[in-house]
């Protein structure tokens, strides 16, 4: 195939098919002072795609708090780095793989895991945990079953083979994601401070090496595909979905860490979205240097690949490495041990240009900075409050009749796939390898990993709630940060950093842009108030199918530190007669709740109001009561409200509970409302008074709700009327069988 000439590209507007706008094309011409050739236009098109350049979200990033005494590396590198003491640091980031997973669920999800792991070990850190956040349509839909099975199998197939435990995550099912599932993957690594490595190409004359897999024709323009809306012809784009090879990834992890440990490496960068183009220009741009590479030297899977194809390939499991000048042979030997090619393809220069040769021919020559994230254009759009809010906010709960018995409602909620046990999912993941998982999936609100050789542990979680953000992007997003933090403190961990994954629709639509703007403001406000720095993140926009946007869905990955692993906490009730109490403020808001979804389907009402001052006090109080050693369980109230929260603690402990609701108000709200700032704890009766005092020191109410029983689960009103009555066995069956029965 003959490539179009620069004139043809201009006259036939070929840049348009690559996703560039006329203004962007003009900006490229101005920057270069000439017409770009085909390879150059392709390079700009992928790096200036929304996926790579954050064109719509970057203007908001200044809102995020990004500093703190533990922060060793904030946003801007492959992943953030947070100090945990004893010379150790944790490295973590979240990334989306939504569009690929919609088209090729197994490979889409698998390569999402591979990509986020590479972001971690390029920092010099050994990946110690993976998590995932999944959102799909209604699980009774056959297509959704197919996608869900494929996505879970893809995550398992990749994560299990590379020996990184998948320890946590979240799964939501809602028709709002039917056409555009969300697959966000998070990874966490552990690194000694002295091994932290960055992705900058410094030192003029230093060699530039391509290591790992050979370059093939897969994934060309994947980043551009990820930056458009899904449509009925999207399945024709399956060639833009890359295929992963976890075996090579595993070898790459070991080889890269060995090379970094040897001291031979100056800078290293994953070739993810936009492949060689992004890695070369990002590395040069970060160091303020230039890079010169000869594509004839790049190991390719097939002959005859053009510079355009090599520069834009998104073949997986590749890295760009800048070693010390005299360490090329050492690096080659390390990669040879693992059977991986490591080839010098160029060198670091000092003129700020990315210069690409094909043998002796100059194939592309562009200023590194102009290609990088900082050089890409940004867009501030018109924002408009969506009209649907008038309807949802005028929802009147009194249109739903109160009931005298809510046992069936509780069973229905436990059976709903969003709330039900995710055992079917996490049992497919090796969550134990590396011997650090001290609180396994399903046992608490977050997974806990020990740090070998210390008394410490870290808790990790990933959370989102698109329905609540849809109803109120600002409050809903604050709620997501608050819930992630609450999940961590319920294990006894103090939150130390977060990474955000922004999943939204087309930002060129004023209503979507408004959601984005409000949501980011909410996230930033909550992160600032709760003093949890943002260390980096990911944005995935254009999540639409057939013109319909997903719920605005920011997700938050968060890491917390436990100083003494012996004081970790789980959510199951432990002993009969223990007192059950509510730590926090009573609440009964039903807007956007899972219970209301059972009754009316679509999200309706007002999202729960978030009071960050109360959240902060509650979280400090929760940590204090856990560290006091006076409580036996802690479980955050979220989807399904108080009743589901207590039912889960019963099911996990295989015990019953007797609960009296000491408040006035609608019973459905008291039982199933999803108001924030609430945690259910249990403790031995003799510790109750001490706990009360401790909570009071933080200004947080502690309300006695009842006690743990052997088998029966009973909720009664203040007047003593039973409103829920079941055996823990029946609740357990509903909760545990929900996914298996739908997926068998």
């Amino acid at each position: 195939m003959k490539e179009p000439t620069p004139l043809q590209i201009r006259d036939e507007k070929i840049w348009r098919s690559m996703g560039l706008t006329e203004d962007e094309y003009d900006q490229i011409c101005t920057t270069l002072g000439r017409l770009p050739n085909y390879t150059e236009v392709g390079m700009y098109a992928v790096l200036w795609s929304e996926h790579c350049a954050y064109k719509h979200t970057r203007p908001f990033f200044k809102l995020f708090p990004t500093t703190g005494e533990r922060i060793l590396q904030g946003p801007g590198e492959n992943a953030g780095v947070v100090d945990i003491g004893d010379g150790w640091a944790v490295v973590f980031k979240v990334e989306s793989h939504n569009h690929p997973s919609a088209i090729e669920p197994y490979q889409g999800a698998a390569t999402g895991v591979g990509g986020i792991l590479r972001d971690i070990f390029t920092m010099g850190a050994r990946p110690i945990a993976a998590l995932n956040s999944l959102r799909l349509g209604d699980l009774d839909d056959e297509k959704v079953k197919y996608l869900f099975k494929g996505i879970v199998a893809g995550i398992a197939g990749y994560g299990n083979a590379v020996g990184v435990p998948t320890v946590g995550g979240e799964v939501y099912f809602d028709p709002g994601y039917a056409g555009n599932p969300l697959v966000n993957a998070m990874a966490v690594g552990l690194v000694r401070h002295e091994m932290i490595t960055t992705a900058s190409a410094s030192g003029v004359g230093n060699p530039v090496m391509v290591v790992g897999s050979e370059t093939g024709r897969d994934g060309i323009h994947g980043a551009s595909f990820a930056s458009g809306e899904l449509s009925s012809d999207s399945e024709e784009k399956s060639p833009t979905v890359q295929a992963g090879d976890p075996f090579v990834e595993k070898l790459l992890i070991e080889a890269c860490l060995e090379a970094i440990e040897s001291g031979a490496v100056i800078g290293i960068q994953d070739m993810g979205a936009a492949g060689l183009t992004s890695s070369a220009c990002e590395m040069a741009s970060r160091a303020g240097s230039g890079i010169e590479i000869d594509l004839a030297l790049v190991p390719c899977r097939e002959p005859g690949m053009s510079p355009y194809e090599i520069m834009l390939s998104e073949s997986q499991e590749r890295m760009l490495v800048v070693p010390k000048k005299d360490a090329v042979d050492e690096v080659k030997a390390i990669f040879a041990k693992y059977g991986l090619p490591a080839v010098v393809v160029g060198k670091v220069t000092d003129d700020g240009m990315v210069r690409v040769y094909d043998g002796s021919d100059l194939a592309a020559e562009v200023p590194a900075k102009s290609l990088s994230t900082d050089g890409a254009p940004t867009y501030v759009r018109e924002a408009k409050r969506p009209a649907y809010l008038d309807q949802t906010q005028s929802f009147d709960i009194s249109t739903i009749a109160e009931q005298t018995d809510y046992t069936q409602d509780l069973l229905d909620l436990l059976d709903s796939p969003t709330i039900a046990s995710k055992q079917w999912v996490y049992e497919q993941f090796d969550h134990l390898v590396q011997l650090n998982t001290v609180v396994a999936p399903g046992a608490a609100d977050a997974a806990v990993l020990r740090i070998k050789g210390t008394k410490k542990g870290i808790a990790v979680t990933v959370d989102g709630n698109g329905r609540l953000v849809y109803l109120d992007p600002y409050q809903g997003s604050m709620g997501v940060v608050a819930e992630a933090a609450r999940n961590l403190v319920c294990t006894g961990a103090e939150p130390i950093g977060l990474t955000d994954g922004l999943n939204f629709g087309n930002p060129e639509k004023p209503e979507v842009y408004w959601q984005l703007q409000q949501a980011i403001q909410g996230l930033a406000e909550a992160a600032r108030e709760l003093e949890i720095p943002v260390t980096g993140g990911n944005a995935s926009l254009y999540n639409e199918s057939s013109g319909q946007a997903i719920y605005p869905t920011p997700i938050i990955g968060m890491v917390g530190l436990i100083e003494d692993i012996d004081l970790r906490m789980t959510s199951s009730f432990k002993d009969v007669n223990d007192v059950i109490g509510l730590l926090g403020w009573p609440g009964s808001e039903l807007g956007g709740s899972e219970w209301l979804k059972l009754k009316v389907g679509e999200p309706q009402g007002q999202a729960p109001v978030i009071d960050l001052g109360r959240e902060k006090a509650l979280q400090k109080a929760c940590l204090a009561v856990i560290r006091s050693g006076l409580i036996k369980s802690a479980h955050d109230i979220s989807e399904g409200g108080l009743a589901v929260c207590i039912a889960e603690s019963c099911i996990q402990g295989n015990l019953g509970a007797e609960v009296n609701l000491p408040w006035p108000g609608r019973l459905d709200g008291l039982l199933f409302g999803e108001s924030a700032a609430r945690i259910v704890i249990s403790a031995a009766p003799e510790n109750w008074d001490k706990l009360h005092e401790l909570a009071a020191q933080y200004g947080v109410p502690l309300t006695r709700l009842g006690r743990v029983k052997a088998e029966e689960v009973v909720f009664a009103t203040a007047q003593g009327w039973s409103v829920i009555s079941s055996s823990v066995g029946s609740l357990k069956t509903a909760w545990e069988q929900s996914l298996p029965k739908r997926l068998s």
């Binding site: 020996g163 075996f247 390898v433 396994a440």
Partner: protein
Amino acid sequence: MKVAILVFPGSSCERDCYHVLTKVFGLESELVWHTETDLARFDAIILPGGSSYGNYLRPGALAKFSPVMDRVIEAAESGTPILGIGNGFQILLEAGLLPGAMLANESLRFQCHPQDIRVEVDRTPFTHGIAPGTLLNLPIAHGEGNYFIDQAGQARLEANKQIALRYVGSNPNGSVSDIAGICNEAGNVVGMMPHPERAAEAVLGSVDGQKIFKALINYWEAKK
């Protein structure tokens, strides 16, 4: 006693085994890359879990061609205690050091969860001193742990007391006769799907796995 922990490309449980042997039991232990051609300095060999060669073709099918496997076969013949865990078990099967083959789990899904196991024989170095009938709770984590052998082979395993471990309660993968682990006729080569190294510290929820490693230490002491 010095223990070799073999590392194949794609292995992932070698560091876990190393941690348990050195930190929990204070044993001398070494990670041995698969190209090693001398194992004479070792008194026992562990083939750890993971996905050697990405489990391509069949789990263990490619690892059996690694240079170190010739030495493993020699060591097996000379009576050296050899333990294959998970993928290590699969490699021992593919290398012909143990009879039978591994199929995909009946569920066709990878499964990772705690599992009750019963020790069936105490004649192997890794069950030495553990009374037959002893129950252990050990994690499993595999997609292809559905052990298969034909009826004649199964009869030979029974007759020779080669069934070392059985699943108790539910059979997680459909294996013949609930088999979780077997040994060779001589008893010195053992393969098991459950991961004892993942249950060797109280902080991880179970210490039952310690028994497998203690058995090896006791066997070694007794032999001295």
